[in-house]
């Protein structure tokens, strides 16, 4: 079975094979023998090249969160169909959504404003802290769906940016 994973912008092709008495995991064609145990629903004990690691894995659809040595890695599992589409991911119309229940503190852009990729476009406040949400693409603000002071839920669309 071959899997394709994406971490940030890097793509990894992963194959798991049974070779003689051992499991070999091939990452981008390079194989490493792996010994593993599932400890409970979320925790794996993995021994690779003699190195023992306890790794937490949380799967939510195609998104996999992996917790290793204090850091959380967000991995996206890509099917072959998705892979063909992925070249278009960072263009088109992007909805800027609130990542958590929060309050809109400041809207930094108006309809028609040009934005760069990674430029801040709206400031939200949750848990007594302000956070700036950034545009993932270069484009134009085509819609502003909230007002300053609004309370929003996680997943609510705040602004829409279009690259067209």
């Amino acid at each position: 079975m071959t899997y394709t994973f994406k971490i940030k912008d890097k793509v990894f092709s992963v194959e798991i094979e049974q070779e003689k008495d051992q499991t070999v995991v091939k990452i981008n064609e390079e194989g490493r023998p792996v010994e593993f145990e599932k400890i409970d629903d979320y925790i794996y004990s993995i021994i690779v090249d003699g190195k023992s690691l306890t790794i937490g894995v949380l799967k939510n659809g195609n998104n996999i969160q992996v917790f290793m040595d204090g850091d959380l890695f967000e991995i996206e599992a890509i099917s072959e169909r998705d892979q063909m589409k992925s070249s278009q991911v960072l263009s088109g119309v992007q909805e800027i959504k609130s990542p958590m229940p929060s309050r809109v503190v400041k809207i930094l852009k108006e309809i028609g404003d040009e934005v760069d990729a990674d430029e801040g476009i709206v400031v939200v406040e949750a848990m007594k802290m302000e956070s700036e949400l950034k545009s993932p693409i270069e484009g134009k603000v085509t819609d502003v769906l909230v007002n300053e002071g609004d309370a929003v839920e996680a997943g609510n669309t705040l602004l829409i940016v279009s690259s067209d």
Partner: protein
């Protein structure tokens, strides 16, 4: 001892106080909001009362509701913890009026220290060092003379200021006049008031604070210092005791100053006097926190003194059984605040369900937390998950222990700062004790995982995906190696042979 104590707080500090009260033989009463029904403080207290909506303004901040529960439950005393009503003069007064003991200083001490200008005046009278500067607003003629007197670099600040507006750093005398002009014009346009004051600029400042404890029999002691310079968003992240950069002489001087200002307001209970310090050990009074401090555990670890228990005993009228000379520092303690936040996106909070939590254990490791597997971090409260505290015989050993303990911590479901904390522990500048409040900004490389071997993470992800397919049977094809592997693993007790 009080028979029953109400804890007017939530989260790890409520848990910490509940444990202390129980050990002292008191029955504990918790209060909780809608969002906190499943919180640990509710589970651990002997009694629990619902007090309203999830927003603090509908529950933990409503004085009437807390007092009602105290009366209903028959609590004789209230411990306010930190935040919420802990430094609220009105609340302390109301407790006095209702004949409920407020576990903390008098309402008067809270009032005096709560107002910045009053606190500064008290400090001045008590000969507590303040950042040298003009006493309030100065004229254009006086300003450069004040700067000459206190020495460069100086800071010109708008009296009505805030948010960096109307503020100018001046390093040389030649630049003073033009900087003054710009600061004043900025102050005028921002605040409609162009009065400014002049203060010495403390370069590479450190935040060092003194823990004090005072009984109601005239004994005020200092429990040495805490170094709290590692901050993000002006909030502490890592604290340690003692401080790596101060001499025994400075320590004694700071301790005595802290005792002096505490006595000036007839302080009782636990309190913290905060100082800003330059790299040459010159220290200046910032403010006094009239409550238990988040980072109190590091002081407990190096002194063996249970601050929370003594707050309760002092409120009950007990006398401190020792003198300053009986106290000494033993070893070194470090605290890391584990937050549900993402260091990569300017420490943005990351609420959510904690699917799995495993805290480190072992000798010298203390985890003050209120989280568990299945707990949900909501966006109503501070995103602090835990305070991991370690003790060892030296600073180096304590840092090593902390790095190792952090690596054992597993929190699955939200983003955390654990990886960032590990990188700070392994950073040479931090290990050398060269600390200032700009440390995190100076080391942006610590915010991300950087160059690590992520292959084990990818392997784990592949195993999890394969496992999910196995258990749901979604992959029906005969070519599924995973299914076969999984079955084999099942037959052989989990190991693939």
């Amino acid at each position: 001892m009080f028979k029953k104590i109400l804890i007017a707080n939530r989260g790890e500090i409520a848990v910490r106080i509940i444990r202390a009260c129980k050990e002292l033989g008191a029955t504990t009463v918790a209060v909780y909001s809608d969002a906190d029904r499943k919180s640990l403080h509710v589970a651990l207290a002997d009694e629990a009362y619902h007090i309203g909506g999830s927003a603090p303004a509908e529950s933990y901040l409503v004085i009437d509701k807390i007092i009602d529960v105290a009366k209903k439950s028959g609590a004789e005393a209230i411990h306010p913890g930190f935040g919420f009503l802990s430094e609220n003069e009105k609340f302390a007064k109301r407790c006095e009026k209702e004949k409920i003991v407020f576990i903390g200083p008098s309402a008067e001490a809270i009032r005096l220290m709560g107002d910045k200008i009053t606190a500064r005046n008290i400090a001045q009278e008590a000969k507590v060092p303040l950042v040298p500067g003009s006493d309030g607003a100065v004229s254009d003629v006086e300003a450069p003379l004040v700067a000459d007197k206190i020495g460069y670099p100086v800071m010109i600040k708008a009296s009505a200021g805030g948010g960096g507006k109307g503020m100018r750093l001046v390093r040389n005398k030649e630049d003073f006049e033009s900087s003054l002009r710009m600061a004043k014009s900025e102050a005028r346009s921002s605040f409609g008031d162009d009065s400014v004051f002049v203060e010495r600029f403390v370069e590479e400042p450190r935040h060092v604070e003194i823990q004090i404890i005072a009984d109601t029999h005239g004994n005020t002691l200092y429990l040495f210092e805490r170094e709290c310079s590692i901050q993000r968003r002006h909030q502490k992240v890592i604290e340690e005791a003692p401080s790596p950069g101060i001499s025994a002489k400075t320590r004694k001087k700071m301790g005595e100053v802290a005792v002096r200002i505490s006595k000036a307001v007839n302080y009782s209970g636990a309190g913290t006097v905060e100082f800003i310090m330059d790299q040459k050990e010159n220290f200046y009074f910032l403010e006094m926190n009239t409550r238990v401090q988040v980072e109190h555990p590091v002081t407990e670890m190096i002194t063996g003194f249970d601050i929370v228990k003594w707050m309760v005993r002092i409120a009950n009228g007990e006398k401190l059984p020792f003198k300053q000379k009986d106290l000494s520092i033993n070893g070194w303690a470090v605290e890391c605040r584990v937050y549900a936040e993402d260091p990569e996106t300017n420490f943005m909070p990351s609420p959510g369900l904690l699917h799995y939590v495993k805290a480190p254990t072992g000798p010298g490791i203390r985890d003050d937390s209120s989280i568990y597997s299945g707990y949900e971090v909501t966006s109503f409260y501070d995103p602090m998950l835990s305070k991991l505290v370690v003790w060892a015989e030296s600073r180096e050993a304590a840092i090593d222990k902390m790095a190792s303990a952090l690596k054992e911590y597993i929190v699955l479901g939200v983003k955390t700062n654990i990886g960032f904390l590990i990188r700070v522990m392994n950073n040479d500048v931090f290990r050398e004790g060269k600390l200032d409040t700009g440390f995190i900004e100076k080391h942006p490389e610590l915010l991300t995982a950087g160059e690590v071997d992520i292959e084990p993470a990818i392997i784990a992800a592949a195993l999890a995906v394969g496992n999910a397919e196995e258990s749901t049977g979604s992959d029906k094809g005969p070519q599924s190696n995973w299914k076969l592997l999984g079955r084999k693993a099942g037959l052989s007790g989990g190991t693939l042979i």
